[in-house]
Symmetry: C2
Subunit: 157 residues, 2 copies
């Protein structure tokens, strides 16, 4: 089976599918309000990528490119990807959908930072992610994990 990762469009169908995911919050509600108030157009690009099984959205993640000026994680300082809300619907777990999404992100060739949910460290380790050296003013209550492409190092060590 070939797994295809697609950039998700902001429309009422996508936003209805988002409600099935556990990590549904202010980001999704804000997209819905913007669409209803015509602040964004139907089928605008969203920061989400997803995998469909048939016509059902079964996995998703959000990706955002952070500018090198704000980079406090990587050396040399550079543009990197922040990844969040990686989630696979319960009935579709263990089929490689999460792995496909992360590999899709890694294929951009940029370093990646994520703040994973608890109990997911085994998955992230398998995908090559490691812990950072904690800094209170940078990391606050987060447990950041990062992925370094070749030639990239931590900023603090």
């Amino acid at each position: 089976m070939s797994i295809k990762v697609r950039k998700l469009k902001v429309n009422f169908k996508t936003l209805e599918e988002f409600k099935k995911f556990k990590e549904y919050g202010i980001q999704e509600l804000s997209m819905l309000e913007d669409l209803e108030a015509n602040i964004v157009e139907d089928d605008s690009d969203s920061p989400f990528y997803g995998i469909y099984f048939g016509d059902k959205l079964v996995a998703r993640m959000s990706l955002y490119e952070v500018d090198s000026k704000s980079d406090r994680y990587f050396y040399p300082p550079q543009d990197y990807l922040e990844l969040w809300k990686l989630e696979v619907l319960p009935d579709y777990q263990g089929k490689g959908f999460g792995k496909a999404l992360v590999q899709f992100a890694q294929n951009f060739g940029l370093p990646i930072k994520t703040n994973p949910r608890v109990n997911s460290s085994e998955f992230w380790n398998k995908m090559g992610f490691t812990s950072v050296n904690y800094e209170v003013d940078r990391d606050r209550g987060e447990n950041p994990l990062v992925w370094y492409p070749e030639g990239v190092k931590p900023q603090n060590h």
Copy 2:
């Protein structure tokens, strides 16, 4: 009963008590390593505040003062407090310990930002916290709640 909030000291007793809390992660592990490697002194100040019941730590939170230069939440831009890891041990919930910690933070008179755990919105609403207008580059996967002292307004509206 009078509830007393105390600034917590970094020592092996405190770090042992932290293990009972659900939100135990890289922050706590890093404090333990720093203490073991003599990078911090025994009984240094920590960013944590807590409430003892007898000699048992039963509630805690972490507080960090963010500099006005980094303020993207409040208008006029100003120093504010970031609050995280507010947690009361299960047997001690419903006794006002969480409320006492948040009121302690509010007494500094600075605006407060927090990124609460799911299903806690009723508590935060009661404490006067409200949602922000979501901005993807600022908030990413967070669901920030903020508290405005008198005269302080949101930065985006």
